[in-house]
């Protein structure tokens, strides 16, 4: 149960910026809906609210940057980017 809930919480932290911010602001209390061991809670509450938020944003931006670069380079504008 614990690993299952850890993964569910990690997924929510990654996909839900609001939840990530709540964990960052409120720590373990914001994770009360999940059955986590003390170690798992520490792993998630540390500064991962911000860290995961940034990681998710990076992944989103990676996709967007690649898409835009492809479009712009196809139109001959790649060198100016």
């Amino acid at each position: 149960m614990s690993l299952r809930d850890f993964q569910r919480a990690l997924t929510s932290l990654t996909l839900d910026v609001g939840f990530a911010n709540a964990v960052y602001a409120g720590g373990i209390d914001a994770l009360a809906a999940y059955e986590l061991s003390p170690l798992e809670a520490r792993r998630l509450e540390r500064d991962f609210g911000v860290g995961l938020d940034a990681a998710a944003l990076i992944l989103d931006l990676e996709h967007e940057v690649r898409r835009l670069k492809g479009v712009l380079r196809a139109q001959g504008l790649g060198r100016e980017i």
Binding site: R43, G51, A54, G70
Partner: protein
């Protein structure tokens, strides 16, 4: 028994390479395809799983008989605590038999959570390198290998966050998993490079601690700086810092089958044929100069 100049070089197929794989067949010893991009899958419980996409399958069929084929999966989510998708594994096994794939690889991560009502994070999330996760994975890897009937490789992760208080390091975890299951390693050198840059560790020390004798495939790629991170965005040519790692690793491998260049299709306008060929030729040169021994294959 035939002799082939293993290991060779290849590409991870993407839609920008449809013409390339035909017009530069001689440049490719192997072609790696992502089967998840060749079918649609609404997920467990759906009667319409693995409906093939004809254009994508046609590419795989055209490649048949021309070169070695391998599969690189993104949908198994092997590390999910509550998902072990055996119909997905059986679908891979059917494709492995149909197309004669030489090996199949997956990521050491999870993307799917929730039984019944699954949520897919659409990105490879890391797992802590703990005994609990190791014990979860060992029987699964054994089961997957048994059903596939070919070498099964797991890929080292790229991660932008690092869990505190892990029971093992990544290398020890991978080594234990390989020792207990006999699975191979897909060593993604750009992942190592990215992690080393972002987390400030010595990449060569990490590589030395891996059981390199179990490396079957190596991935090389490029990335970009963003928000203070180096990202594994697969944009453009191979990152310059990755090539020395390839030179370092190749002589220590014993069962290496190939080096694979992977890039995102949006980078094609900056690479074109010449750019891809240049990456392949550079990788081939390193193999020629540094490979410990050629392999014989049946």
């Amino acid at each position: 028994m035939t002799e082939r100049p293993w290991p060779g070089v290849g590409v991870l197929f993407n839609p920008a390479l449809i013409d390339f794989v035909q017009s530069h067949a001689a440049a490719l010893d192997h072609l790696v395809v992502m089967p998840d991009r060749c079918w649609s899958d609404p997920g467990p419980g759906s009667p319409h799983r693995f409906e093939e996409l004809p254009a994508a399958v046609a590419v795989v069929e055209r490649a048949l008989g021309q070169r070695t084929l391998a599969m690189h999966c993104i949908g198994l989510s092997l590390c999910s605590a509550e998902v072990f998708d055996l119909p997905y594994v059986d679908q891979l096994a059917a494709w492995r038999r149909r197309f004669g794939c030489a090996w199949v690889s997956e990521h050491l991560s999870f993307t799917r959570v929730g039984a019944g009502h699954e949520v897919n994070a659409s990105m490879a999330l890391p797992v802590p390198y703990d005994h609990e996760v190791l014990e979860l994975l060992v029987p699964r890897v054994l089961e997957v290998q048994d059903r596939l009937g070919c070498p099964f490789l797991l890929e080292n992760n790229v991660y932008y966050i690092d869990f505190p208080e892990q029971e093992m390091g990544e290398a020890e975890f991978l080594n234990r998993l390989m020792q207990r299951t006999g699975c191979g390693l897909l060593l993604d050198l750009h992942n190592v490079y990215t992690n080393a840059v972002n987390h400030g560790f010595d990449a060569r020390r990490f590589l030395r601690s891996l059981d390199l004798d179990r490396v079957v495939e190596i991935h090389v790629a490029g990335g970009e700086p963003m928000m203070g991170f180096h990202t594994d965005s697969h944009t453009g040519p191979v990152a310059e810092g990755v090539w020395p790692f390839l030179e370092y690793v190749v002589p220590h491998t014993g069962m290496l089958r190939g080096v694979t260049f992977e890039f995102h299709e949006s980078s094609w306008p900056m690479l074109h044929d010449a750019g891809v060929l240049a990456q392949l030729e550079r990788a081939r040169g390193i193999l020629r100069d540094h490979a410990a021994r050629p392999l014989q294959v049946a």
